[in-house]
């Protein structure tokens, strides 16, 4: 319940900060200053925008399919929001301790697609329809490399439970049920004989536990950009040709909901990336002999210190990923649709398949 309330408040706040950050980041990348007028350094700019949005008229095109048109933003937002239920915030705080957490989030993404389609079609206009088509084709295609990259992690961790995956990547591994007797070895290889169960830090992160998972992480990151329709995969929204794609006809609060869902999606895929590959809420600092950095920077799971440190690490890593998303958006040009499909089917999917195979073999050495 706490998690629900937390995310309900956090997502709008994040969107607020995210939009501001996006503007500032883009400005600095392009050697501009960005918003400077409203408030100090333009800090209140987004707030002003939000107020404008709330006061705007909610326009529904007269030829739109009104019922679906009204429903679509809600479906998009609810779908994305439901995904946060499976995200573990701290070692003990998770919305729903699903045994199938990862799989659930994958399923949620597909619900999002239906909402986008509904929005695009019900607008009864060319651009939204084209945008929706592109969005759906893109999201469905990129679900395959995403799914395969996630599958590689699942094969290494042998579970779909996100909390279990989190525990496995740090020094508190033995504090979770069914993991009491588990050991972490360097690069996951038992034959090497270097036990790092109590060393922790980035050495037990999945990308180090199985070094090839770092390639899987890159695949996941690229595909996740496409999943949330971010540049350079933003052809569904392509302002310059489609004027926003499936949400062209939306305005006011409904448009705000769609934007909220977009930022929520960014947050969700970044969370998932951190949890699956980058050690979740575990500290990046390892215990090095007397320098017990990991012990100092992350408390025991059920203590308040443990909660605070884990939430700190999880969020800093996530925000780092989100910054990377913005960075890429303002650096790379938009892909053409054939390049998009080429990248997905002929580059990402084969590599992801090979990594899944490698992970299967690697797992045999891990026990």
């Amino acid at each position: 319940m706490l998690s629900l309330v937390f995310f309900l408040l956090f997502i709008p706040l994040f969107a607020l900060a995210g939009v501001y950050a996006e503007r500032k980041v883009s400005a600095f990348i392009q050697d501009r200053l960005g918003p400077m007028e409203v408030g100090r350094y333009g800090l209140l700019q987004t707030l002003a925008d939000i107020i404008k949005l709330l006061l705007k008229e909610d326009i529904i095109p007269s030829l739109a399919d009104k019922r679906l048109f009204k429903l679509a933003p809600l479906i998009i937002f609810v779908a994305v929001f439901a995904g946060f239920a499976a995200i573990p915030l701290t070692p003990t705080l998770i919305g729903s301790g699903l045994q199938v957490g990862v799989f659930f989030i994958l399923a949620i993404v597909s619900l999002d697609v239906v909402g986008i389609m509904m929005a695009g079609w019900s607008s009864n206009s060319k651009y939204p329809l084209l945008g929706a088509m592109r969005a759906v084709a893109q999201i469905i295609s990129y679900e395959i490399p995403t799914g395969l990259a996630i599958l590689a992690v699942v094969m290494i961790c042998q579970t779909l439970d996100l909390q279990s995956i989190s525990y496995q990547q740090g020094i508190w591994i033995n504090h979770y049920q069914h993991l009491e007797a588990d050991q972490n070895y360097l690069f996951g290889l038992k034959p090497l004989g270097i036990d790092i169960t109590l060393v922790g830090g980035f050495l037990t992160w999945n990308i180090v536990r199985m070094p090839f998972l770092s390639i899987a992480f890159v695949i996941y990151f690229i595909a996740s950009l496409a999943e949330c329709n971010r540049a350079p995969f933003d052809i569904p929204e392509a302002e310059s040709e489609l004027i926003g794609g499936y949400h062209t006809e939306y305005s006011g609060l409904r448009w705000a909901f769609i934007m909220l869902a977009e930022y929520g999606m960014m947050l969700l895929v970044s969370f998932l990336g951190v949890i699956l590959f980058l050690g979740s809420w575990n500290t990046p600092l390892p215990n090095l002999g007397y320098l017990a950095l990991a012990d100092w920077t992350s408390g025991k799971p059920d203590t308040l210190w443990g909660q605070l440190t884990s939430i700190f690490w999880l969020f800093s890593k996530t925000f780092l990923l989100i910054f990377a998303q913005m960075w890429i958006r303002w650096t790379y040009p938009r892909l053409r649709i054939d390049q998009l499909m080429y990248l997905c089917w002929k580059v990402l999917v084969p590599f992801a398949l090979a990594i899944v195979l490698l992970c299967g073999v690697w797992r045999l050495w891990m026990v």
Binding site: L68, I108, V109, S110, L111, V114, W121, I140
Partner: protein
């Protein structure tokens, strides 16, 4: 509470399925199908089949339904831009259709009523051993897929490859 939820989702499934039959608007029917699928997923979740529930969403909502919607949107030519020009189904042979439908339904309902599944020996014994409501079904699902159902699992791989070859073949040849 669980029983209440069960009835709620049953109601959702039946009503949306029924509306799906009544509406002539194909896209509405597709979106109502979404409700039905989600309701069924919820029922799976209620009986503790978590993996099945999520699979239901991934496959039916994420795959089948989206493909369906995609197909409708791609093939439909809007006439005059009116929403009333949305793709619609024709209803022909209404009475015969209804009659066979209701007849078939009555037959199956009678079959299920007479079958009396709750008293079947294997279900009773499974219930007494508490095998049905376990913590999670995933490890056992995985173990079974790799032992008892290994051959079906591999055959499905061939089956899907055949389907894939066929789909690309038919799509790439202009007739």
């Amino acid at each position: 509470m669980v029983l209440l939820l069960f009835y709620f989702f049953c109601f959702l499934i039946v009503v949306s399925a029924f509306l799906m039959l009544l509406t002539r608007h194909i896209l509405y029917a597709a979106f109502l199908l979404l409700l039905t699928f989600l309701g069924i997923a919820a029922l799976y979740a209620l009986v503790g089949a978590d993996f099945l529930a999520v699979s239901q969403v991934v496959i039916y909502v994420g795959g089948v339904l989206v493909l369906l919607l995609f197909g409708i949107m791609l093939t439909h030519q809007p006439v005059g831009g009116q929403p009333s020009a949305a793709p619609q189904t024709e209803s022909r042979n209404l009475w015969w259709g209804a009659l066979t439908g209701i007849g078939f339904f009555a037959l199956l309902a009678q079959v299920i009523y007479k079958a009396d599944f709750t008293s079947k020996a294997w279900i009773v014994s499974a219930e007494s051993q508490k095998r049905l409501l376990n913590n999670s079904s995933i490890p056992h699902l995985g173990a079974n897929l790799m032992t008892h159902y290994l051959l079906p699992f591999e055959i499905i791989a061939i089956l899907l490859l055949v389907a894939l070859v066929g789909a690309t073949l038919l799509a790439s040849r202009k007739s």
